[in-house]
């Protein structure tokens, strides 16, 4: 799956947890979940779980700790999909 396709799916996943609509509308690969999209840290867990369900992958803590931006999350997903 291309990075663009993953990012599109990720955008749908994070939407319910976003607290900054304008930054969400202008989402780029550089968007940061906490500072830009203002996702509550407890909901970052939900983002990780939703990603696992959507892509049928399991994310360990070493990978989870990087998942604070769109780009880093897309990279983790891509890596996991390749090793499936």
């Amino acid at each position: 799956m291309t990075a663009e396709a993953i990012q599109d799916k990720l955008k749908v996943i994070v939407q319910p947890y976003v607290n900054h609509q304008e930054n969400f509308d202008n989402l780029t690969s550089k968007s940061d979940f906490i500072n830009d999209l203002q996702i509550n840290s407890a909901n970052l867990v939900d983002v990780v779980l939703d990603v696992e369900d959507e892509f049928d992958i399991r994310i360990e803590n070493d990978d989870m700790e990087k998942m604070i931006s769109v780009e880093a999350t897309v990279n983790v997903i891509q890596k996991k999909l390749k090793s499936k």
Binding site: N40, S41, A42, V45, D46, L49, I68
Partner: protein
């Protein structure tokens, strides 16, 4: 060391489902999960551990100067009594104090006895209380350094602070 975190329990109930499958195992060790599940109030216990981890994260990030990560699992909690606890992270430990009310749970790192915390219902009210605390006539200003760490400028004094906001509650430790 400073680091604090507040959880508005009503908001947490509507925003998060901590009983969602695999939710707890992402953030808690087996021992910590047992502490939650054996508690008469599992939700309160969960948010106590969560706020302890978040306050320790903020304190260690300031102290060790690492870039942002998301790994609550790496912060391991031990409960000493109803208020006091310890959080371990990569060979370091900090003491934390937790205040439980019906509406919120507030934890802060209690490394030094000289730190104080204030809790209010808006940032304005918090700064107002801080002004009175310092006995100054001009309003303190909340600023962020380049690395994102917050501090307060009050008259000519610059004081490092930790801030937290969730739902109806705002808190500051200094």
């Amino acid at each position: 060391m400073i680091g604090n975190d507040i959880v508005d329990l009503k908001k947490a109930k509507t925003d998060s489902n901590i009983f969602r499958p695999r939710y707890m195992e992402k953030v808690l060790s087996q021992n910590e999960q047992n502490l939650v599940l054996s508690s008469p109030n599992p939700e309160q216990r969960f948010w106590r551990l969560w706020t302890m981890k978040e306050s320790a994260y903020k304190a260690f990030q300031r102290e060790l100067n690492f870039k942002s990560i998301f790994n609550p699992f790496a912060f391991y909690c031990e409960l000493i009594d109803l208020e006091n606890g310890l959080v371990h992270f990569e060979g370091n430990s900090v003491k934390t104090t937790t205040f439980n009310s019906e509406n919120y749970i507030y934890s802060s790192v209690s490394y030094s006895t000289f730190t104080r915390s204030l809790i209010a219902n808006s940032m304005e009210e918090l700064l107002q209380n801080l002004r009175m605390e310092f006995g100054e006539s001009s309003q303190p200003e909340l600023l962020k350094l380049k690395n994102g760490l917050p501090f307060i400028k009050i008259v000519s004094k610059i004081i490092p602070v930790s801030t937290t906001h969730h739902g109806l509650y705002f808190a500051i430790q200094f």
